[in-house]
Structure formats: C-alpha cells, structure tokens
C-alpha cells in the first residue's frame, strides 16, 4: 500500500512537471536545420525577406463579388487580416535604380502627353477621401520613374508573381487557433478549384489533425491488442497493471527528458511514445518469472536484449535531426524509467508465471548462422548500396486537396523560375558566376534580374536623357498642377546614378520581395532560379534556398548520416554482444536474421527503384534494437520453452504495436511501422523456429 502510494506520488509529480513545461510543435518540418552555418544563414535570410512567412495566400479571382465578400468575412472572423503582397518600397531607394530604365522609356515618360496623363490619374486618385497623399508621388517622382521601374522588374511574369494576378495575402493570427484555421481551410476547399490557397497554417493544422487521430487510434489499438495478448499468456492482471502504470511513467519521463534539452516537443514524437508499450513489454516479460535453475543464462539474454535496445536508440542521439534526437531521448528515458519503476515490484515480478506454448522447431547445424551471415553479406555486396534520398513529402502529412494546392503554387513559382532558387558562390561579378550554369541550360537566364541589367553605356544614355528632359518636364508639371489648385515642391535634379551589378542586385533585393545577393562566411553569393536541380548541388557549392530543394537536400543529407550511424550502432552492438556472450556462433546466430532482412531491404530498394529514406534508417535502428532481442534471448537461454513463449509474447506485442502505426495518417509513422514490422517478423520467426545445436561437450 505504502509502495503504491509512493509510486502514485511520483507519477503525480512527473505529470505536474510535464503539464507545466509542455509545449507542442505540430509541423515536423520546423525540426530541420542545415548543419553548415553558411548554408543555414543564407537560407534563413532568404526566407526572412520572403513574403511567404506568417501568411496565407489565396487566389480568388474566379469568385463573384458576393462569394469574395463571404470568403473575406470567414477569413476576418478567423483572425486573418488582408495585407499587401509587397511591402511599400522606399521611394528614394527605388529611384536609385533609375539608370536601369532604357533611355527610350525616359523620353516617353518626359513627353507632354505622358505627363498630362500622369497628373490626371494622380488627381483622380487624390480626389478620393484620404487620397491627397497620392500627390506626394508627383513631388518625389515627377516623371513616374518609380512605377516604370516596378513594371520593368516586378511586372507580370517577373520577379515573384509568376504570371497572372498576384494572390491576396492574409496575415496569420497569433497564436494560431486550429479550430478557426480548420474552418478557413474547409471554406477554401469547398471553393476549389476556383480558389487556390497555400500557407504554413494549413500544413500545421493538417498535421495536428493527423497526429490527433493517430494518437487516439494507435494508443487505443495498442492497448487493446496488448491487453488481449497478456490475458491469453498470463491471465494475471498484475502484469497488465505494471505494464500500464509503468508505461505511463515511461511516457512522462520521456517527455520530461526531451524538455530538459528542447523547449518544444514535436507532436509526432508524442505519437511515437505509444511504442514504449512494446519496449516495456519486452523488459517486463523477460524479467518476470525467471526460473531459478536458468537464472544466469536468462540474465545474459536479458542484458543482451536491453543493452542492444539502448545502443540502437543511442545512435540516433548522434544524428543532427532534432526529431530523431527527441525520439531517442524519449526512448532511452522511457526504458530506463520503466526499469527503475519495476524495482519496488521485483518480488511481484519474480512470482509471475507464463503460459508456455509448444512451438515446432528445427535444430540447425552450428555452421548455419555463419553461412547465413556470409551469404547475406555477399548478397549485400552484390546488390550494392541502395539510393538514399528523402523528400519533404515523406516527412509531413498533407491531404490530397492540400497536395493539389502545393502543385498549383509550385507550377506558378516554376513558371517564374522561383521554384528552385539557389545561392551561387561568386568570386568575380555575379554574371560571371552564373554564366557556367546558363551555358549548361540549368539557369533560366531570361527570368534573372541580371538579364535586365543595363551595361555602363546604356546607363549613361539613360542618365543623359534624364538630365536633358528634366527641367522642361518639371516646368510643364508645375504649370499643370498649379492650374488645378495643387502646390508641389518639385526636385531640382533628376534621380539615378551609375550602378555595378552587385549594387544593382542589392537595391533590387531591398525594393522587391526577394533577395538576389548575399554575403555569408566571408563569401559573396548571387541567387538564381534553376530550371532543374543538378544531382551534385553540394559538389558545385550551390546552396538551395527554395524550401522544397532546401529541405529535400537537408533530409537526404540527414538520411545518409543516419545510415552511417546505423552501421556504427550495428558495430557497437556486435562489440557489446561479443563481450557479454563470448561465443562467436551465438553472436552470428543473433545477427543472422537481421543481416538477411538488411539484404531483403537492399534488394527491394534496388529492384523497385525506391530510395531509402530517413524514416527507413530510423526503422532499421529500431529493428536491430528489437529484433536482436529475440535471437539474443533465445540463444542465451538455449531455446528454453518458457523463454520462447516469452519471445512469442513480446514479438507479437512489438508487431502489434508497430503494425498499428501502419494505420496512421502521418507518413513518418506509417513508414516507420511498415519498416519495423517487415524487419521484426523474420527475426521473430527465426528466433522461435531455428534452434542452435549445442557445441560438443556443452552442458545442457
């Protein structure tokens, strides 16, 4: 009674600490940060200037005014505020670009007809309530050089709009209320395809919805299946009680451990914690009812299993992915806290007995594990390394409707050559840096602002035209406006100066929506949109800046890194088992099915052309952490009937727990579940059915 009260108090304290410190992050994409500080800085600064953050975009030109009004009302009710697509450019900085207008355009702007039309237009606008400020435009920029520059650089099909009317832009409310975003998304989806919409809010809400459903579904099914297995194998409610309460302790300790290192916990990690039941089942079942006569050998098996599981989880800690680190921290803390939780109940655990299940088995010759390992290794060499690639789509959930919107806006960005923007390192001028890419046909040169850069001679001609036409245009303008009762203080000299390519790109970045040049790590970069992304992006020194390319490259890099970590973890497990088992044949037996599974994955990947993703590698780490346990316990206990029954129970529990994840909506969880099940089932079957013949002279 006293013991239970102490445990209850500890759980209450953990729950209180979790409740006080818990902060959830729904979009797993936010866990990704480039390791290279230069690449990370370039990407962050490009995205900072980007008009896409904290906003949603709605193309609603196809709606009637009444429909548009209804939609505006729904958006306003949800807290979305319409804002301009572009921030107002500083007129002085804009006019600094005057030398980039062709001289012919200057002549046209300074003509009497154009000047009269400009004054009439501005007076009409000034006649609107509050419109008088429009007259300031005439004062600052009598000829209308600014609007002509904007038309030249940001007009239809240029510099950020990608053709067609620009979408309406709405600033997202903060904090985001998912229920309100859901209403907005439903309204927009109902109007699709006449309306197109995009924004991080929709990804956040869809991921939140998917995770909420997955948590409920996976946890309920896992609980029911585990309950069924335990009732059938033990008929002892105390074991279930220990598993249930212990898993609650694992969950709380796992979440708190993450909170020690990170301010926010990714929602998908919370769903992953439902798999703790499987790890805990293994520990609990194998530690329960140990037969006195076989205690030493059983403990070797148990520590082999727990040690390899911890090693499998620990290797993920060495990776750079925050998401995987959080899963690893939660797993390690969850498993250790469960073992600590069992300490006060060790006598209860000792007294539990399991139903034994008679299993058919084949006693294999002692050379078989070596032959299997050798054949698998040779097969792996023959098949060759599979392609490793992770795309952003595999990393977060999006509904089919949102997927169609992503395609639509990707096409618009691609049309403006802004889908795959990269930073190109430059030692000389920006155009010299871009020339090789243009020569290869990778760069859409005509869409790059440098294609509209005027060379020094053309700039000189423009500045000369401005000087020549300035006084005449100024006098005419003053005469027209005074006759309309307007008084203006017109500038005495024309705007503009000669610009170099770098200064031109910097100015354009200041007045437009996108940055075209940057400096990081003491190097200069010019930004450019690519027609297609070359496979050797990093080898060319190109830094992806578009979210799609950036995250694809980042995830692929993380996948490769995790692949190496997986191999390192595998080597660590071999070393650990060599130390604890001290028998080469047993060690080969332990790893034989895992190597065969690895060969199966490599062959499947090569034959179907499916690349291995970061989730597969994470799954492999879990497969060796889980599957090695079955063979390690089986071979350590000489395939004892009770221990094999325990393996059957823990194996079925693991397959059920991870199999349930295959029903998840979130692609990370679905893929993780499938990988672990595909890897664990052959290992489980091998451990249950293939028994190692004793060495000559080995005691029974």
């Amino acid at each position: 009674m006293k013991r239970n009260l102490l445990v209850a108090a500890a759980i209450a304290a953990l729950a209180f600490a979790v409740e006080r410190s818990f902060r959830l992050e729904d979009d797993p994409i936010r866990s990704l940060v480039m390791a290279d500080p230069v690449a990370a800085a370039l990407f962050d600064r490009y995205q900072e200037r980007s008009p896409f953050r904290g906003r949603i975009f709605v193309e609603s030109d196809g709606l009637s005014p009444a429909e548009q009004a209804r939609l505006s009302e729904i958006l306003a009710r949800a807290g979305y505020r319409e804002v301009p697509f572009l921030a107002a450019p500083d007129p002085a900085r804009l006019l600094d670009l005057a030398s980039q207008l062709p001289a012919g355009t200057v002549d046209r702007l300074a003509g009497e007809e154009a000047l009269r039309a400009r004054v009439a237009e501005i007076l009409a606008v000034a006649a609107l309530p509050g419109g008088g400020e429009a007259l300031r435009q005439l004062e600052v920029d009598p000829l209308g050089v600014g609007p002509a520059l904007l038309e030249r650089f940001l007009g239809a099909g240029r510099g950020g709009e990608g053709g067609g009317a620009p979408p309406r832009v709405y600033e997202s409310p903060r904090p985001l209320v998912y229920a309100e975003v859901e209403k907005v998304e439903e309204a927009l989806a109902a109007l699709s395809p006449r309306v197109h919409y995009i924004g991080a809010d929709f990804f956040a809400v869809e991921n939140y919805r998917a995770v909420r459903r997955d948590v409920l579904l996976c946890s309920t099914l896992t609980l029911l299946l585990t309950l069924g297995l335990f009732v059938w194998f033990t008929r002892r409610w105390v074991l279930l009680w220990l598993l249930g309460v212990g898993s609650l302790v694992s969950y709380l300790a796992g979440v708190l451990a993450i909170r020690v290192f990170y301010a926010e916990i990714f929602a998908v990690v919370l769903v992953y914690t439902s798999t703790f039941v499987s790890f805990n089942t293994e520990s609990l079942v194998h530690l329960s009812g140990i037969e006195e006569g076989r205690r030493a050998r059983t403990l070797v098996g148990i520590w082999s299993a727990i040690g390899t599981t911890l090693l499998g989880m620990a290797v993920m800690l060495l990776g750079r992915s925050v998401l995987l680190r959080q899963m690893s921290i939660a797993s390690i803390a969850g498993l250790l806290s469960f073992l600590v939780f069992l300490v006060p109940y060790r006598r209860t655990v000792d007294g539990i007995r399991f139903r034994t299940v008679p299993l058919p088995g084949w006693t294999a010759p002692r050379w078989l594990p070596a032959a299997l390992c050798g054949a698998s290794a040779a097969g792996l060499l023959l098949v060759g390394p599979p392609r490793v690639e992770t795309r952003i789509d595999a990393f977060r959930y999006q509904s089919a409707a949102l997927g169609r919107e992503v395609d639509h806006f990707s096409r618009r960005l691609d049309a403006a050559s802004l889908g795959d923007v990269v930073a190109v390192p430059a030692t000389g001028s920006p155009s010299e840096a871009l020339r090789p890419l243009a020569a290869e046909g990778l760069l859409a040169w005509d869409d790059h602002p440098l294609a509209r850069f005027q060379d020094p001679a053309a700039q000189e001609a423009t500045l000369a035209a401005l000087r020549a036409r300035w006084d005449g245009a100024r006098s005419l303008l003053a005469q027209i406006t005074e006759s309309e009762g307007v008084r203006l203080e017109l500038p005495g000299s024309p705007p503009g100066r000669r610009l170099g390519e770098w200064e031109y790109l910097e100015l354009l970045g200041e007045v437009g929506p996108l940055r075209w040049s940057d400096e990081a790590g003491g190097r200069r970069f010019v930004h450019a949109g690519l027609r297609r992304v070359p496979p050797d992006l990093a080898g060319r020194g190109l830094v992806p800046l578009g979210p799609r390319t950036h995250y694809d490259a980042l995830l692929t890099d993380l996948s490769r890194q995790l692949g190496w970590l997986f191999l390192a973890g595998f080597a660590a497990m071999v070393a650990y088992l060599a130390w604890i088992q001290r028998d080469a044949v047993r060690i080969l037996y332990v790893f034989a099915p895992v190597l065969a599974v690895a060969l199966g994955f490599a062959a499947w990947s090569r034959l179907t052309g499916t690349p291995l993703t970061i989730v597969h590698f994470m799954g492999f780490s879990l497969v060796i952490a889980i599957a090695v346990d079955y063979t390690a316990v089986a071979v350590s206990t000489d395939h004892g009937e009770v221990e094999l029954s325990k393996i059957l129970l823990t194996g079925l529990s693991a397959v059920a727990t991870f199999g349930v994840l295959m029903l998840a909506r979130h692609p990370i969880l679905r893929s993780l579940g499938a990988t672990v099940v595909a890897g664990a089932v052959p290992s489980l079957a091998f451990a249950l059915l293939v028994r190692l013949r004793r060495a000559p002279g080995e005691a029974a």
């Binding site: 306003a76 505020r81 319409e82 039309a117 237009e121 009409a124 006649a127 609107l128 309530p129 008084r487």
Partner: protein, 185 residues
C-alpha cells in the same frame, strides 16, 4: 391624471428616442443592401492644396464595386472593383496597374471598399473602433498598412444612415457631407 400624463410623456419620449448606435444595429441597418447611391459634397484641405478644394461627388456602391464620380471641379471617375482600380478622366479609361498594387494605396482602396459597404468585420480588421452615441471613431490598428489614414470619424443620423465622414491623413483632412442617400435592398 398627472400620473397618466407623466407615464404618457415617458412613453412618448421613449418612442421618440432614436435607435442606439451599436455594431448590431448598424449591421442590421445595412444587411441585405444591394446598392447605395449618394450625393456627396467633399471638402479637402491640406499641404498640397493651394486653397480648400470643394468637389461634388456621386458615390455608387454595389457588392464588390464602388464608383467615385467627381462631377466638379475636375470631372473624373474612379472605379474600384475587387482589387482592380480604373480611372476615367478626360475621356480616357486606364487601369492603375502597378500603382494599385502599391501597398499604401491598396490599403486605402480596401478601406474605401469596406466603408462604402459598411463591412464592419473588414473595418475592424484594420481599425480600432470607438463607439459614441451617434458616431464611430476609427483609428488604424498598430502595424496597419493604412498609413494614408490617421483617424476617421463617422457621424450617423437617427435613422443610422451616415451623414458625415471626417477623415484625417498625414497631409490633409477630408470632410464628406452625405446628401440624398438611397439604399436598395
């Protein structure tokens, strides 16, 4: 007898009381409107005007479309339809194009559209509204792109129809007197 007279006076006074100006009352008054036409006298004073500029204007509103027709002194028409702004002046019609996309101007257009439609949610998106007995004073929310407007005072009649609008912007004040307002439901 005196008591009856007093009660009758109270009842009559209550009956004569105009409807109070509240967001709900204003919404109800303007709900279901299909069009609005008004004759407006506008007076502008400020830094750019050599003398107070008085103009006569015809305002026409239908859902999604606002026409601001200046009859004199310089005839011109500005048509706001969705995000499109067209200026008709001296027999020529021209879409404002790049200028209409200027964020400050786009914000002003959005404001005028919402004002003409009495679209309270849209106005509240950009402004903080202070409700008085017969007037509403709107000041732009902090961080609003409505830099061309500092304060708007809307004065309503007993019938909750707008009578006067005073608008302060950085370079001018505009006073609008509404005459012959016709609303079709």
């Amino acid at each position: 007898m005196i008591a009856v007279a007093a009660i009758a006076a109270v009842i009559l006074a209550a009956a004569a009381d105009p409807a109070p100006l509240t967001p709900e009352a204003l919404r109800a008054r303007h709900a279901g409107a299909r069009s609005l036409t008004a004759e407006v006298v506008q007076v502008k004073e400020g830094r750019y005007w050599a003398r107070p500029l008085t103009s006569h204007v015809r305002l026409r509103w239908t859902p999604g479309r606002v026409e601001w027709e200046t009859l004199d002194p310089v005839p011109s028409t500005v048509v706001i339809e969705g995000d499109r702004v067209q200026v008709v002046s001296g027999g020529n019609a021209r879409d404002l194009g790049a200028q209409a996309r200027d964020p400050r101007f786009a914000a002003l257009v959005r404001f005028l559209r919402a004002l003409a439609a009495f679209d309270l949610p849209a106005l509240e998106g950009d402004f903080v509204l202070a409700w008085g007995p017969r007037e509403v004073v709107a000041t732009p929310r902090p961080g609003s792109s409505l830099s061309l407007v500092r304060k708007v005072r809307l004065v309503f009649g007993d019938d909750l129809e707008v009578r006067r609008i005073e608008l302060e912007s950085p370079s001018e004040t505009t006073r609008l007197e509404f005459q012959r307002v016709e609303r079709v439901r």
